[in-house]
Symmetry: C2
Subunit: 333 residues, 2 copies
């Protein structure tokens, strides 16, 4: 028996989640059953989409259950294996985050080829956020050389990769983020125009100044006034990839949509929402491209790391307070 | 010399246009110059998009000018021709509506093959509105057999054709319109569920009742609460063709957008705006299909006809008051 701590949902958050909506509990993990693998998590991911699973509603993933451990991306190391496909010491990616140790069938684990990267990279640049950036920018928005691309939450786990892939593809990149440290980060990763949305009272005017000829692509992570500004400054036939709307995940009442939706007609805009889990077929191509870009030093990244399972709820809250730069992680061992 | 009356824009409307924003004037039309054709208009079209050209702003078509004759689709007959491609008596489609007689270079006229149809059909079912329906439903929204299709302004010039093409393609069709006469029209043209939006206080609930499994396609003609309802009731991967938003053309202040835009992400919706004039390449295919459908009695249509050039401003206003069923036309001779 091994003792493992896990984070459970104690109550469904109303508005911005509070520490008291979570609880840490200890459980005893038995030896793995036949076909199972025991994994010790090294890092777990906290992601904005998890907020959606805290509501009790129908969605593309089922809601978290009160009193049960939360779930999410994690990278761990195999400590015991009864599945011949996994050896002790193997690195694996799973959806069994928010806990220290777990048993799972080998079929639910994804063995990681480390590619010379630190393990937590497979929760960020080489993991789900990286794939999200790749799919959204290239497959959904069809970004190409010469495009002017606007990225909101540009300094976040996904945004920082979107910006750099767009630059690699020959686009001009405008990134928005809040605060001087994030703006400095955007400049480090080669963003052409960094907009501190907290420092402006007129985001549309700022965006129009950065993109005097308009934008061809918008990578939507934020919603609200960011979306309205992007519509206002869009060129004809601009493509918008809708990845998320973090500004609205904690809303307790519906917030009005963009007041300029009518421009979708005259400008012939295309909006398309996507969920990365629909695009698993792109993973091999993504890992090949991304592995090469990282090796060649063409993609860099930042991460914000808190330590210990008990820090996980706080790390999750940082996402909504904008306190992370790059990928937000919790180091578990 | 021939005397022709024409309708001019007297002042830019603020909000709902008024009769006093227009004036009727008489002009003398000389014999056509070399290469020109003189045309006597039989019917002229009034279309919602014309409202946009009454604002003094940049758009995909230049604004109308104060004191000048308005422009728009018209079907006329050649009365004199110095262009060998046009014979006296030929039917032609032009953008020289809002006037009785005009001269124009042959290159700006489109000779009509009557296909056994009345001339005004080329301003409706076999003209721009028909092509708009065809392009939006089939090329933009990719409607296919088994889809559930929601059409707003379903009894209008475009909507009535969208509904029937969707039925022809094997879709289930839900149409919304205002008032009992329009609802009766929708039933006549084979719409499966007709929603009188004026008779309900909860359009989303009505739509959900008509489409318990959700909608796959939304043909957007209206905006506002129609769009919000369509988003709420959309199935995953639904496609929205944005053709127009007549509810907003006379707004004097921006109106809030749909409060559920966040669903675009989780439902992976695709919105796409379009302008029919970008799709002239589809015209031959459209005329071939539509000609066959009409001949086989598979497509029917209604029209609302006012008489005489002086009636044109009033006919235009009817569009925004919802007083037309099917294509709104003005008979000029």
């Amino acid at each position: 028996m091994t003792t493992s701590r896990e984070v459970r949902l104690k109550s469904r958050p109303v508005g911005m989640p509070k520490d008291s909506d979570f609880e840490v509990a200890s459980v005893e993990v038995a030896a793995p059953a036949a076909g199972e693998v025991q994994v010790k998590n090294l890092y777990m991911s906290v992601d904005p989409y998890m907020r959606g699973r805290m509501y009790d509603r129908e969605s593309y993933v089922p809601p978290f259950q009160i009193g049960k451990a939360l779930e999410g991306g994690a990278v761990g190391q195999v400590v015991t294996s009864t599945d011949p496909k996994f050896q002790v010491g193997d690195l694996v990616n799973s959806m069994m985050g928010w806990r220290e140790v777990f048993n799972a069938p080998g079929s639910s684990l994804f063995k990681i080829d480390p590619m010379g990267l630190p393990p937590q990279a497979f929760l960020g640049v080489a993991g789900m956020p990286g794939l999200t950036a790749y799919v959204g920018l290239l497959k959904i928005a069809g970004c190409k050389a010469g495009d002017t691309v606007f990225v909101s939450a540009a300094s976040g786990a996904v945004g920082q990769i979107v910006c750099q892939i767009a630059k690699l593809k020959g686009a001009t990149v405008i990134g928005s983020a809040g605060g001087a440290e994030k703006i400095a980060h955007l400049k480090e990763i080669g963003v052409d125009h960094a907009i501190d949305y907290r420092a402006t009272s007129d985001l549309t005017a700022e965006l129009a100044k950065a993109a005097p000829k308009g934008i061809d692509v918008y990578f939507e992570n934020v919603g609200g006034e960011h979306l309205e500004a992007a519509i206002a400054v869009a060129r004809p036939f601009a493509r918008f990839a809708f990845c998320g709307m973090i500004s609205q995940y904690n809303d307790t009442a519906p917030s009005p949509g963009p007041s300029n939706m009518i421009m979708v007609v005259g400008k012939r805009l295309r909006f398309e929402g996507f969920i990365v889990s629909d695009h698993g077929d792109v993973l091999p191509e993504f890992l090949s491209d991304m592995g090469g870009w990282i090796k060649d030093g063409k993609i860099t990244w930042r991460e914000t790391v808190d330590e210990g399972i008990a820090a996980a709820p706080g790390a999750f809250l940082k996402l909504f307070k904008g306190e992370n730069i790059g990928k937000m992680l919790v180091k578990l061992s």
